[in-house]
């Protein structure tokens, strides 16, 4: 099976506190630690496991810039067969739809049975996979947390409310957005990354992809982020400012007062 996984490099929220910059219009990007978007990492792991069961190849792709090569390199170290970077000045400032348009043209250059994305990235939009499927006229399923291959179709589970799982059958080719927890992504060490240091990563732009420039980039974006802000909230927690011991005592008093000590 030929599997394509669309990935994104994002600020790592487990390593960073996301804060407003001094101008108040963007997040503070200096000293941010970046990593692969967590759901995308699960998607790559799932693709590798499927490939190892049924054969084929795993290709990873990202729309970004030179800086994003590091996440592609990491996915190669995990075991992906090849990686592509889609970069062009004309792509900059694309909204979700623009990104999906660029990916669609990349997909049409190859032949993929299955396309995976992470369920959502740093902006929480959860949109590119569904848009890509609609543009390709492929069936789509989001929030996928299990995949079984059955020749020309897949049996998939989707995460729905209350921890329940919705089981469906979906025809290939299709696009699936992968939920975290579907598998246990393998560890990638520095040694693994060094081993793929010389593997070439091709960059495709408008010269290689049949992208209509009127449909991508900042000019085509119908959805634009104006600024970031921190809302002023009416209610927020009373922060205990005592010593650790005093705070623990206070918390215990509060638990008791609320009827939490039996």
């Amino acid at each position: 099976m030929e599997i394509l996984v669309c990935v994104k490099r994002v600020p790592d929220t487990s390593e960073n506190e996301i804060e407003l910059n001094a101008a108040g219009n963007d997040i503070e990007r200096d000293e941010l630690v970046y990593s692969i978007n967590e759901p995308d990492n699960y998607a790559v792991e799932e693709a590798l496991q499927i490939r190892d069961r049924v054969g084929g190849n795993v290709t990873v792709v990202t729309v970004g810039s030179e800086d994003d090569e590091e996440v592609l390199r990491r996915q190669l170290a995990m075991g992906a067969n090849q990686a592509f970077l889609l970069y062009d000045e004309a792509f900059e400032g694309s909204d979700g739809r623009g990104i999906a348009t660029i990916l669609k043209e990349f997909v049409l250059k190859g032949h993929y049975d299955l396309i995976l994305t992470g369920v959502q990235a740093d902006d929480g939009a959860a949109q590119v996979g569904g848009m890509l499927a609609a543009m390709l006229d492929y069936p789509f399923a989001s929030l996928v947390n299990s995949i079984e291959v059955d020749s020309s179709k897949l049996r998939i589970g989707r995460e729905i409310e209350g921890g329940n799982r919705e089981i469906s059958e979906i025809d290939l080719p299709c696009v699936l957005s992968i939920q975290t927890g579907i598998n246990e992504p393998r560890y990638v060490g520095m040694r693994g990354i060094r081993q793929v240091a010389s593997v070439p990563i091709a960059t495709f732009g408008t010269g290689e992809l049949n992208v209509d420039e009127a449909l991508v980039g900042a000019g085509a974006a119908k959805v634009k982020r104006v600024d970031y802000f921190v809302p002023v909230l009416g209610k927020s927690a009373e922060i205990l400012s005592g010593s650790r011991e005093a705070n623990a005592e206070k918390v215990l008093e509060l638990i008791a007062a609320k009827g939490g000590l039996k």
């Binding site: 959860a126 069936p139 089981i167 634009k224 927690a237 000590l261």
Partner: protein
């Protein structure tokens, strides 16, 4: 301004709360326009739902089709593309169905898509200004969206106050004939109901709930010691289950369990809305997190900015001391 539609999520013939919430959202876009409900389904359920939402809408569009008896977003998308007029503004609850439906719907309608909005600030000419959250709720963003060729807007459940019913009931219009034959490339087979697990977190009045801040599996024991001293249970947020530190049945949130304890200790939990959606009954919420900007502090009653791995053992010691004293 374009016509505004509201997708009604319903189950067993009952419309979900999002129906009235999305009417509020529609009014925030254009107070002068009475929105139209979109009710898709089959059989007696769909008629019951159409009838029940009439007081909220000027028109209720019934989209009946046997293929829609189970809410399959792939089929619903086809149905809506055929039934909706050009330039429509479509509001959809941002739940597992809306996430499935909407991005592709916007592409097929050739309209803009804005996911998971939490507030609407108004419309200037063709630009709708909304508020979204990014980075798991750590920061908010103003987003503007060109709605001149229509828009699909996914609205976070619970973000808008439910609109009260109108005095005049809306008219039900049967649009089923517009849908035609729906083709299936994704077939629903069954629903597997979540297992309840050895510990039922929904039955406990005190929960020691742990998140990513516990750092590794072995540290869960620190929370278990506290829970044991308190006579409480250990629950958790999603990353803890993803990392396989605890089983799925311990997870609180929209994709886990809904709990109603008296006291909820959020330990190293950032406070993503999907987690908070599982905490009901307004418990006394105590948050411990070393990040003073963690969103959990915006909703907690009391907060402690500290490392849970240091603070919890201190609290356990205090509980054990108290128990020791009272045992004498």
């Amino acid at each position: 301004m374009s016509r505004i539609f509201v997708c009604i999520a319903h189950r067993n013939g009952v419309a979900e709360d999002t129906a009235a919430e999305l009417v509020s959202a529609a009014r925030a876009i254009d107070p002068s326009v009475a929105p139209t409900a979109l009710v898709a389904g089959h059989g007696r359920d769909i008629d019951t739902v159409c009838e029940s939402v009439r007081p909220l809408f000027a028109e209720v569009w019934k989209l009946g089709n046997e293929a829609l008896s189970y809410p399959n977003a792939e089929l619903m998308r086809q149905a809506l593309v055929r039934a909706l007029p050009p330039q429509s503004i479509v509001l959809v609850p941002h739940d597992h169905f809306g996430i499935d439906l909407s991005p592709g719907l916007a592409v097929k309608l050739n309209s803009a898509y804005v996911p998971d909005i939490v507030a609407i600030e108004g419309v200037e000419q063709n630009w709708l200004r909304v508020v979204r959250q990014e980075f798991g709720g750590q920061i908010h963003a103003h987003v503007r969206c060109d709605v001149s060729s229509g828009a699909v807007i996914n609205v976070r459940p619970g973000a808008f106050k439910a609109e009260p019913a109108r005095s005049v009931d809306g008219v039900i219009i049967d649009k089923s004939a517009d849908i035609g034959t729906l083709t299936v490339r994704r077939r629903y087979l069954e629903t597997i109901v979540a297992e309840s697990g050895a510990v039922d977190i929904t039955k406990h009045s005190v929960l020691v709930s742990v998140g990513r801040g516990m750092q590794e599996k072995d540290n869960i024991a620190i929370a278990e010691e506290l829970a044991e001293a308190l006579g409480a249970a250990v629950s958790c947020s999603r990353p803890v289950v993803d990392a396989r530190w605890l089983e799925k049945s311990r997870q609180v949130g929209s994709s886990g369990k809904t709990v109603k304890p008296k006291v909820y200790l959020a330990c190293g939990i950032s406070g993503a809305f999907q987690h908070l959606a599982g905490i009901k009954g307004n418990p006394f919420l105590i948050a411990i997190n070393k990040n003073p900007k963690a969103p959990i502090f915006q909703v907690a009653d009391v907060g402690i900015v500290d490392d849970v791995l240091e603070f919890l053992p201190e609290l356990t010691k205090k509980v054990q001391e108290l128990r020791g004293v009272s045992a004498k």
